[in-house]
Amino acid sequence: MFRSVIIGLLSVVAVLILPPSAKAEYADVVINNYADAAGMRPVVFPHWYHRIRFRCKVCHADLGFEFKAGGNKITMAKIIDGQFCGACHNGEISWSVENCGMCHSGIPGTPTSIHGSTVQRLVAPTYKALEEKEKAKEKEKETEKQKEKVPQK
């Protein structure tokens, strides 16, 4: 009796403590180039909301947004100058930048990524393994360099 109750309680606690698996809307982009370091929540950009109002061309051709999550290096200074998000989010076409939390609404520490992407759904993340391989190679090179340095002394 008690054991099952305890197990039940533990599982409830675990569900509350463990990070929830991301079931974010397809194509929601988390942008965390600078936000975390600046003590702000990362930005969550909902593609679906914007594509209902604008065709891809408006942002990706006219405003110069690259087709890459985190690839645009957007800063608040650029937005205030009317670049990127600031082309609309200026109090004229859409609400202005004083609504910090409307964009900066992500869970702190969430990395830059596009949610629900095919790459994210791959069962075995080959792309990560490649990155790790490159890192391992770099490490090997460094250790070799250090070995070369030691006998010279």
Partner: protein, 218 residues
Amino acid sequence: MIMKKYLFIITALLLAVMLLGTVATAEEKKQEAKKPAVSSANVFNRLLKKEKTKNAAPAEDGIHDVENDNTHALQPPLIAYEGLPTTEFGNYVDWVKALNDGLLKPRYDLADPAVQPLIMDLDIVREVKASLPDVVFPHKPHTQWLHCSNCHPKIFAPQKNANVMSMSAILLGQKCGVCHGKVSFPVTTATCKKCHSKAKPADWTPPQSEASVKTPWR
């Protein structure tokens, strides 16, 4: 006196229940001890993770911070999708059909809603080496949303036989994968035939690999 009787009965009952409980747990333990430890690696469909919630609201989607007050002011996607044609992948919305049916009127210009897109109706057929149906690329739905400069010449050279691509490149986010699998419909078994849509000629046979031609199995 009556109270004492009742108290006695209740304590006796409680004791009995507790005793039964301990006996039961002891039996359970015995049974558990009998069962050999089986690896948890043998569960059915270990790597298939199915999405249980479609179009979760911002506060429940796992990337929005619930402690941020403005998260609760954001629009849940399901409200916006009401009445739009559905699909079985991506946002579960058929965006191209919604646009063609006039259910959506996204602007082609930042400020002027009257600007009309520059639509080009040209199908490009790409012959596929493998046994899958050939790919038909329709310019029409793409130019409804995008501008020529979005793809040409950076992603695709506007020239026949100039673009080398493979499904692995697309899956890893190159060529078609710059959008398909991120924003536009994803690459899944449910969507293969959206691109691979032109049947191979009746006399078509798959090309034999060089290795098997050189050294036949017999």
